[in-house]
Symmetry: C2
Subunit: 109 residues, 2 copies
């Protein structure tokens, strides 16, 4: 019912795309270089059409880009939507700089 604000346009799609283990693992795969559908599918136990559906959802959220080459479709990572996620999450602390610092400490621990 709620159509969302201008700034957070499509951020729903980004969050729900990330809310699945298979899709997150696909993104991790793609972070090591672009791959075609069969290369991606062979790394998972689900069927290839199921993988196609996941890739469609990742495409919808703009987390991946597609380049056609003959009969292959190469998927690659698009980091831009992640910025939106970070941008939204900053509400969690008004002193954003301090947050980044404590987060950095946390990750380095």
């Amino acid at each position: 019912m709620d159509k969302g604000e201008v700034l957070s346009y499509k951020i729903n799609d980004v969050f729900s795309a990330l809310a699945d283990e298979h899709r997150r693992n696909m993104l991790v795969m793609l972070s090591k270089g672009s791959k075609n559908v069969n290369e991606i599918a062979s790394a998972f136990k689900i069927s290839r059409p199921a993988v196609s559906k996941h890739l469609k959802i990742l495409k919808r959220s703009n987390l991946v880009a597609i380049k056609k080459e003959g009969r292959n479709r190469y998927f690659s990572l698009n980091p831009k939507p992640v910025k939106e996620v970070f941008d939204w999450l900053k509400f969690y602390d008004k002193s954003w700089d301090r947050k980044l610092q404590s987060l950095k400490n946390y990750l380095e621990k």
Copy 2:
């Protein structure tokens, strides 16, 4: 089918909890102080039971904590799961420090 890894336990719930505009707005509300169900519900156009459902999902993801006081239930923000989200997202860039810096620049722009 996939049960998830130890480190990302429940992170699915965090992402899907964040994948709804109403729930994100509830979190923003709570970032300004704890509130009971009616205070939260009165800020939205949906019914109170619908708000209860959203709060249940936020509770499941551990993004909020509940304190009972008489017949009121006060909801407050729990920032811990957000760290898991940041932790997961760091795969996006091996040079995490640089990422934080460019992100900081982006947000300050």
